[in-house]
C-alpha cells in the first residue's frame, strides 16, 4: 500500500513538472550563455600595429602535448607597417582534431599571439575541415569571443615571488653556446620576446664573418687540415644562407671560437 501512495506522490511530482518552464535551450536558435572559461577553439590576433602578433617563437609548438601546432617561418623581414625587422609565422597550422584544450600554448605565449575562443568550430565532413590554418585562425580572432585569459595574464597568475625570480633572471645573460634554449623557458614577463629571439638568429649567423671573409671555397681546402675543413663545412650552409650576416658580430665568445678555427683554415688554404 505504501508503494502505491509513493507512486501517486511520484506521479503528482511529474504532473506538476509539466506546467513548469522547460530547462531546454533550443540550441541553434537560442544559444546557452557560454561559460567564461569555456575553451573550444583558437584564434591568432593581430597586434597593435594591425599585423599578425605571432612572431614564430615556436614556444607553443614545443609545449603542445599533442604536438598539433606546426609553425614555419621564413626568417626575419621588415614589417610593412613599422619598418622594424621581425619574425613572422608564415604557416601556422593547428590541428584541432587532436587538441585536448589544455591551453598550454596560450600560457607560454609571451606576445599574447594565441588565445582560445569560446565558440565551437563547426563540425566537419572531413578531418581536414577541422585543421585551422592561418586564415581561419585570424578569422576566428575577428569573429569569435575570446575565452577568459591570454598568455601574459596567465603567466602573471603563475609568477613566482620576486625573491626566487632573481637568480633565474641572472642566469640568463650568461649563455655560452645556446641562447636558444632559454627562449622557450624564459621566465615570464621580464623581457620582450622580440629581442630575446635575436640571439637565435644571430647564432646561425656568427660563423659568417670568418668563413666567407676571405672567400675560401670548400673545395680548395687541403686534406691535411682535416679538423679545420670540418669546421668550415659545418659553417658553410649558414654562410651561404645568410651572406649579409657579417654585419653584426655581437656575440663575442662563440664568434671567437669559430673564428679561431677558421683562422686555421685560412692559414691552411694559404
Amino acid at each position: 500500500m505504501g508503494y502505491f501512495i509513493d507512486s501517486l506522490k511520484a506521479m503528482a511530482t511529474t504532473f506538476r513538472q509539466i506546467f513548469r518552464k522547460p530547462a531546454t535551450y533550443e540550441y541553434p536558435e537560442v544559444i546557452r550563455p557560454r561559460a567564461e572559461r569555456l575553451r573550444a577553439s583558437f584564434a591568432l590576433p593581430d597586434d597593435e600595429n594591425g599585423e599578425l602578433a605571432c612572431i614564430a617563437c615556436m614556444a607553443c609548438e614545443k609545449i603542445c602535448p599533442s604536438q598539433i601546432i606546426h609553425i614555419k617561418s621564413e626568417g626575419k623581414r621588415e614589417s610593412p607597417v613599422t619598418g622594424k625587422k621581425r619574425q613572422y609565422a608564415d604557416t601556422f597550422v593547428l590541428d584541432l582534431t587532436a587538441c585536448i584544450g589544455c591551453e598550454l600554448c596560450v600560457q607560454v605565449c609571451n606576445s599574447n599571439a594565441i588565445y582560445m575562443v569560446r565558440e565551437q568550430e563547426v563540425p566537419g565532413f572531413e578531418r581536414e575541415d577541422l585543421v585551422l590554418n592561418l586564415e581561419r585562425l585570424r578569422a576566428n580572432a575577428k569573429s569569435k569571443t575570446a575565452a577568459w585569459a591570454k598568455g601574459t595574464v596567465l603567466q602573471e597568475m603563475q609568477e613566482l615571488p620576486k625573491a626566487e625570480k632573481k637568480p633565474a633572471a641572472e642566469k640568463k645573460p650568461a649563455p655560452e653556446k645556446k641562447p636558444a634554449a632559454d627562449a622557450t623557458a624564459a621566465p615570464p614577463g621580464d623581457e620582450k620576446p622580440a629581442p630575446e629571439k635575436k640571439p637565435v638568429a644571430e647564432k646561425k649567423e656568427t660563423p659568417a664573418p670568418a668563413a666567407p671573409a676571405d672567400a675560401t671555397p670548400a673545395a680548395a681546402a687541403p686534406a691535411e687540415a682535416a679538423p679545420a675543413a670540418e669546421a668550415k663545412a659545418a659553417a658553410k650552409p649558414d654562410a651561404e644562407a645568410k651572406p649579409d650576416g657579417e654585419a653584426k658580430p655581437k656575440e663575442a665568445e662563440p664568434a671567437k671560437a669559430e673564428g679561431a678555427k677558421s683562422d686555421a683554415a685560412k692559414e691552411a688554404s694559404a
Binding site: 541553434p28 544559444i31 597550422v93 566537419g124 572531413e126
Partner: protein
C-alpha cells in the same frame, strides 16, 4: 604507412578525395519503380518523403567508451534535448542509424566497434565525437590506441573538442542532416580543398574510403573482428576444476614487523634489501612458502603483484637485464599492516605462482604476464588479460617501442 592523395605538379600534397557518392547500399525494387515511365512524379515525391523520414529520425547508437560519453548523455538530457530533432538513443545497433563514437578506441576495442558498426542496418552514418575518436588525440602514437576511428569505419561527421559540449553534438547531428539530404540527391558535401595540411592530419594507416587505402586492410580488419576473442582455450580450467586456495587458519593476531624481519632473515635467508624502499629480496624458490607462512600469520589480503622490467645497462653502471616482481600483503581489519617483498628474476626465469595461496593472485599475475612478460610457474590460466589475444610482445617492457604498430588496427 599509406601514401595519401594524388601528388600534384607543384609538389604540394592534396587532400585525399573520399568517394562519398558511392553508397553502401542500393534500392533494387525502388529503383525499378523510379524508372517506370509515368510514375516519375509519384516516385519523386515518394523519394522526397523517404528522405524526409530519414533526415528527421536519426536514432543514435552510443559507442561511448570514455569521457565524451558523458557529454553524449548530457545531450539527450534537458538542456539540449536531442529528442527535439527526433533523435532517441537505442541500446541495440539493429535499430539505430547513427553510431556516435564518443571516446578513445583502443586496439582491443576496435574489433568490437567494427562488429557493432557492421551490425547496424543500412542506411547508417557515423559521427566521431571528440579528439580521441577523430584522431586518437594525444594517444594517437601509443601502441594500444587506434589513430582515429575513420581508419576502421567511414566517418561522416567529425565533431572537434575534448570533449565537445552537448550543443556541439546537436550541431553535428544538424550537419549530418544536411549530409543525408545531399547524399540522397547524389551530391557530395562541400569539400574545402586546402593543400599542405595533409601531413598534420594523416593517420598512420589510411582511413576508410581513402583511395590510397589498401583494400586488403578492410578484409584484415573484418577477419580480425570475426576472431576478436578467439584464443586457445585448451589450457583453460574446466568448470569446477579451479584451484581452491589452501585451507589455512583464520586470522591470528597480526605479527609485529620486527618479528617478520627476523622470520625473513632466519627462515628465508634474506640478506639483500632492495634499494630505495628497503623491501626484502626473497629467493624465488622460497617465495611461495613465505606467502603461505605470512598468510597464516594474518596477512590475508593479497594487495598487489607488480612486475618491472629493467633493461640491460651499459656505460658507467653495468647491469644485466632483469625483472623485479614486487608482492604485498595486508592484514585484515583496523590498524592493518603491510608486508612486501621482491623477487629478482633473470630473463626467462619464472616466478612461482601464488594462485595456490591467494585466489586473488590469478588475474593480477595474468595482468603482469600480459603487460611485462613475467611468466608465473604453476599459474592455471596464464593468458592475455588486458591486451587482445593475438597481441605480440609485452607493452610495458622497457624495450617495447611505444608506437609499435598492431596491424590491422594501427
Amino acid at each position: 604507412m599509406a601514401v595519401n592523395g594524388n601528388g600534384s605538379g607543384d609538389g604540394r600534397k592534396r587532400l585525399p578525395v573520399v568517394d562519398e557518392g558511392a553508397l553502401a547500399y542500393d534500392h533494387p525494387l525502388y529503383d525499378t519503380l523510379l524508372n517506370v515511365p509515368g510514375l516519375s512524379v509519384a516516385t519523386t515525391s515518394l523519394d522526397a518523403l523517404l528522405n524526409w523520414g530519414l533526415m528527421n529520425s536519426l536514432w543514435i547508437f552510443p559507442m561511448a567508451t570514455s569521457c565524451c560519453g558523458i557529454e553524449l548523455m548530457a545531450a539527450a538530457a534537458s538542456r539540449v534535448d536531442l529528442d527535439r530533432m527526433g533523435t532517441i538513443v537505442r541500446a541495440t545497433p539493429r535499430q539505430a542509424e547513427v553510431m556516435v563514437i564518443a571516446g578513445t578506441i583502443t586496439v582491443k576495442m576496435a574489433p568490437r566497434v567494427k562488429t557493432l558498426w557492421e551490425q547496424m542496418p543500412e542506411p547508417k552514418w557515423a559521427i566521431a565525437m571528440g579528439s580521441c575518436a577523430i584522431s586518437g588525440d594525444f594517444y594517437r602514437n601509443l601502441y594500444a590506441v587506434v589513430p582515429g576511428i575513420d581508419t576502421v569505419l567511414p566517418v561522416d561527421i567529425y565533431i572537434p573538442g575534448c570533449p565537445p559540449n552537448p550543443e556541439a553534438l546537436m550541431q553535428g547531428l544538424l550537419r549530418l542532416k544536411e549530409k543525408v539530404a545531399l547524399r540522397r540527391a547524389g551530391k557530395l558535401p562541400p569539400h574545402d580543398d586546402r593543400p599542405g595540411m595533409l601531413d598534420v592530419t594523416r593517420p598512420s594507416i589510411a582511413r576508410l574510403l581513402d583511395p590510397a587505402r589498401d583494400r586488403a586492410l578492410d578484409q584484415q580488419q573484418e577477419d580480425s573482428a570475426l576472431n576478436a576473442s578467439s584464443f586457445d582455450r585448451s589450457d583453460e580450467p574446466e568448470d569446477g576444476e579451479e584451484r581452491a586456495p589452501d585451507q589455512l587458519p583464520d586470522a591470528i593476531a597480526s605479527t609485529p614487523p620486527a618479528e617478520i624481519e627476523a622470520l625473513l632473515r632466519d627462515e628465508f635467508g634474506v640478506t639483500e634489501l632492495a634499494p630505495k624502499d628497503g623491501a626484502p629480496v626473497v629467493a624465488a624458490d622460497k617465495h611461495v612458502a613465505l606467502a603461505r607462512r605470512l598468510r597464516g600469520m594474518g596477512y590475508q589480503i593479497f594487495v598487489y603483484v607488480v612486475a618491472t622490467h629493467f633493461p640491460e645497462k651499459t656505460g658507467k653502471v653495468v647491469a644485466p637485464e632483469r625483472f623485479e616482481v614486487a608482492y604485498a600483503l595486508r592484514t585484515v581489519g583496523a590498524g592493518s599492516k603491510l608486508v612486501s617483498w621482491r623477487l629478482k628474476l633473470e630473463p626467462g626465469q619464472e616466478a612461482p605462482s601464488l594462485v595456490g595461496v591467494f585466489a586473488g593472485a590469478d588475474w593480477q599475475e595474468r595482468e603482469q604476464w600480459d603487460l611485462v612478460g613475467v611468466r608465473f610457474a604453476g599459474h592455471p590460466d596464464l593468458r592475455r588479460l588486458m591486451m587482445p589475444d593475438n597481441w605480440e610482445g609485452h607493452p610495458l617492457r622497457k624495450d617495447y617501442p611505444a608506437d609499435k604498430a598492431c596491424p590491422p588496427w594501427r
